[in-house]
């Protein structure tokens, strides 16, 4: 039987995330592991569930294999529903041919049929590369109260950083009067979070119109929002006060992980709504008699006999006696053998750091972030200098002569 949904979410998860380099060599950015047991996409997905949105289309394109498997039938997020639920939407061939997604607007355009099936009044557009805890239903409430055509979530950023973002200039009623993409001289510090709510009919109209425009980049920020503003639609900013971080670069990815640490973390996984994730059954963590732990997040399946300080450890990480891990992120299934030292590094999953090997240089001594791609083996006593990035699948890392 036909049932209507008030709001359907469309999660843009097709981007490559090229500035995460080796971390997105084999997986799409939303599938990059985060925070000890999550993947980035868990945050928007969990937010949807906690906001009462039970129909989510996930638009995939780049390296979708891991992401598809991860989302599966949506059961970990309670999104395995008879009607609605989470659905992966890759590009497809239709009667009139098919095409890759050419820009964010085109991706939604190609899936208008999906949206129509649920006949929603509103469409929520999300992106899969932000870490935050947000109740979209409050934003939807604001959208309805204002009688808006479109509402864009914004967050206040330091004015000196505002030129890195899409900036919304608003009047006192928060109605958007101007939108500037990365303005050199920002007039406001209200940065777009890439979260939009549109009335479905308005969105449909503009997507169809934009699709017909051959010169359009088919992008929400560059084309759809400016066109709507030009036509004088009622567009409002919805200010969000809380933690929100774009994890699009290695540095911001590292920082966002570290934001979970400390006695009063900048972003506390223990306050607010629970983030759901697909987890494997792993035994509890073992903290050995020689372990020294400080200011760290550690997950099931880990076995710690060495020293771990100010770090985030995913499942199945083994730290042998005498090894030291500091200011680092170690993704799943990593062996750090006896006496190895890892400083200020991101190590992707399935790696081995050999005995007495050294990776990176202490952050307090001015070291630069070191990144080791997945399935890499660092030989014993080997040194990986700071700032180096080792590509995924380097069977054995050897320093170039």
């Amino acid at each position: 039987m036909y049932k209507k949904k008030e709001c359907v979410a469309m999660l843009l998860a097709g981007g490559q995330g090229s500035r995460l380099y080796t971390l997105t060599e084999r997986v799409a950015k939303p599938a990059v592991p985060f925070g000890g047991k999550y993947r980035i996409i868990d945050f928007p997905l969990s937010n949807c569930v906690h906001s009462g949105i039970d129909t989510v289309g996930v638009l995939t394109q780049y390296q979708p294999l891991v992401l598809n498997e991860y989302i599966g039938n949506g059961q970990p997020w309670d999104l395995d529903r008879n009607y609605g639920g989470v659905m992966v939407l890759p590009p497809y061939q239709g009667k009139k041919g098919g095409d890759w997604y050419r820009g964010t607007a085109n991706a939604i355009y190609q899936n208008l049929q999906f949206i129509r099936r649920y006949d929603p009044d509103y469409v929520l557009i999300l992106s899969g590369d932000h870490i935050y805890n947000m109740d979209y239903s409050e934003m939807l409430e604001a959208h309805k109260q204002k009688g808006a055509d479109a509402t864009i979530a914004v967050i206040e950023v330091p004015l000196e950083e505002a030129s890195r973002f899409g900036i919304m200039n608003t009047d006192e009623e928060l109605r958007i009067v101007e939108f500037e993409e990365k303005p050199p001289q920002p007039k406001s510090n209200k940065a777009s979070m890439g979260i939009y709510i549109f009335n479905t009919d308005v969105l449909t109209r503009y997507l169809i119109r934009d699709e017909a425009d051959e010169n359009s980049a088919k992008d929400f920020g560059k084309n759809i929002i400016p066109a709507m503003l030009e036509d004088g639609l009622k567009m409002y900013a919805y200010p969000f006060r809380g933690y929100w971080k774009d994890v699009g670069t290695l540095d911001s990815f590292w920082e966002a992980n570290m934001d979970l640490l400390g006695d009063r973390p900048v972003f506390d996984l223990y306050s607010g709504k629970k983030i759901f994730s697909r987890t494997e059954a792993r035994p509890p963590q073992i903290i050995g008699a020689s372990a020294v732990l400080s200011d760290s997040l550690i997950t099931e399946g880990c076995e710690i006999h060495g020293e771990v300080e100010h770090s985030v450890l995913f499942g199945d990480v083994r730290i042998e006696p005498g090894a030291v891990v500091r200011d680092s992120i170690l993704m799943g299934n990593i062996s750090v053998e006896a006496g190895a030292v890892i400083e200020y590094a991101i190590i992707d999953s399935d790696c081995t750091v050999g005995a007495k090997a050294t990776v990176g240089k202490a952050r307090r001594d001015g070291g630069k972030l070191t990144v080791i791609g997945a399935e890499t083996e660092i030989s014993p006593k080997q040194t990986v200098p700071d700032g180096v990035m080792v590509a995924a699948g380097s069977a054995e890392y050897k320093k170039e002569a």
């Binding site: 970990p76 494997e280 073992i286 903290i287 997040l297 550690i298 985030v312």
Partner: protein, 378 residues
């Protein structure tokens, strides 16, 4: 696998009255994030059994909560999956009207209807308190290869303490054929075949055993079925050599838990077996957070904990908080326990959601651990 599974969820509850006052033996928490039944369930699921019945007795709310739809064991199936069978009080199941079963055979009699409807050729029976990781498919292969009526899983163990007196000792010939079995044997140092309370039975034979037992009013599986028919039927032993734990008192529970903490080989043989993970109900807790002030040595810790104090030789379940300057040693803290600042605990078993206030000092002894009941505030 052409076998169905049946798990007895409540037979040994009286052994640990403290932990089973509010729950079944099957749902007694164990090893940070598990319930005892997880081992029996995982053994069956990992061996390819997809039709599992759990016979309940009483106090099974926590068990229902734990198993849910069975999806955490990949057992949310259209046909088969995990079924909870609440107790029937029937005339043919129990001669004493309005009484629940008290033995394994009576439990089987009480679900005779379900047993008569089984389609699989073989049935695996397992108690809920079998802490081991065993390949049941191999037991079944052995059972089929010898065309057996019943195969009992045994382990070579000396029966040395009074605690173990309720164990079943099986006498078998050199070909593995059972000759006799006895309960409450005399303690001795000699290694004997100790029954692990896991059996494979040919389905048609099980069905006839149940019908026969109803007709004759048999009550004991070991006496009336195994011992009585040993020379007439093809009963066999299957020797299991991996680590195995069960417990018959709170001190035994404490000892069994602590043994895991101090023996990494048995830990690996239980939890880190290729293709045979121990599955359990997922709670979606965040990773455990160790503060800068945390001092943790020789512990097993689940996710979702916040550790700010000193913790040594402990088993810590999900969602536990240990405040700064608190000292917890040689203790087992169940889910969501809260330990206040400057508290000092030694040899304590704190049940779910216990709150220990600031500066409280408590100590038990390994032979008599100090037990704190569920949701107590001290």
């Amino acid at each position: 696998m052409n076998a169905a599974g049946i798990i007895f969820s409540n037979l040994h509850g009286r052994h640990i009255p403290e932990l089973t006052r509010m729950r079944t033996m099957a749902s007694v928490p164990f090893a940070c994030r598990y319930r005892l039944i997880d081992f029996a369930l995982s053994n069956m699921v990992n061996s390819g059994i997809t039709n599992i019945s759990v016979i309940t007795h009483n106090n099974y709310r926590s068990l229902m909560d734990h198993i849910g739809s069975g999806k955490d064991w990949d057992m949310a199936r259209r046909s088969g999956g995990i079924k909870l069978l609440p107790p029937y009080i029937t005339a043919n199941g129990n001669p004493m009207a309005n009484a629940l079963y008290s033995s394994r055979l009576e439990a089987l009699k009480s679900i005779s209807q379900s047993i008569s409807e089984l389609k699989e050729d073989y049935v695996v029976l397992s108690d809920c308190d079998v802490i081991c990781n065993i390949d049941l498919a191999d037991v079944l292969r052995d059972h089929v290869a010898h065309n057996a009526d019943m195969t009992m899983v045994v382990k070579r163990l000396p029966v040395i303490t009074a605690e173990e007196k309720s164990r079943v000792i099986v006498e078998a010939d050199s070909n593995g054929r059972i000759l006799d079995c006895e309960v409450r044997p005399q303690p001795g140092l000699r290694e004997q075949n100790v029954g692990l309370n896991i059996w494979v039975i040919t389905r048609t034979y099980l069905q006839s055993v149940v019908q026969d037992s109803i007709a004759h009013g048999y009550t004991s599986f070991t006496h009336d079925i195994v011992a009585k028919n040993a020379t007439r039927r093809n009963f066999r032993v299957y020797r299991f050599d991996g680590p195995y734990g069960d417990m018959s008192s709170l001190a035994g529970y404490f000892k069994e838990s602590m043994a895991l903490l101090n023996n990494h080989a048995s830990w690996d043989a239980l939890f880190n077996v290729e293709q045979r993970p121990v599955l359990t109900h997922v709670r979606n807790s965040p990773p455990t957070k160790y503060a800068a002030s945390a001092r943790v040595r020789n512990c097993m810790i689940a996710d979702g904990c916040r550790i700010e104090g000193k913790v040594e030789n402990c088993i810590i379940f999900r969602g536990v908080r240990v405040s700064p300057n608190a000292v917890v040693k040689n203790s087992i803290l169940f889910e969501d326990a809260y330990i206040g600042a400057d508290a000092d605990l030694n040899c304590v078993i704190a049940d779910k959601s216990v709150v220990i206030r600031e500066r409280v000092r408590l100590s038990g002894h390994p032979s008599l651990p100090f037990y704190i009941d569920k949701s107590t505030m001290l």
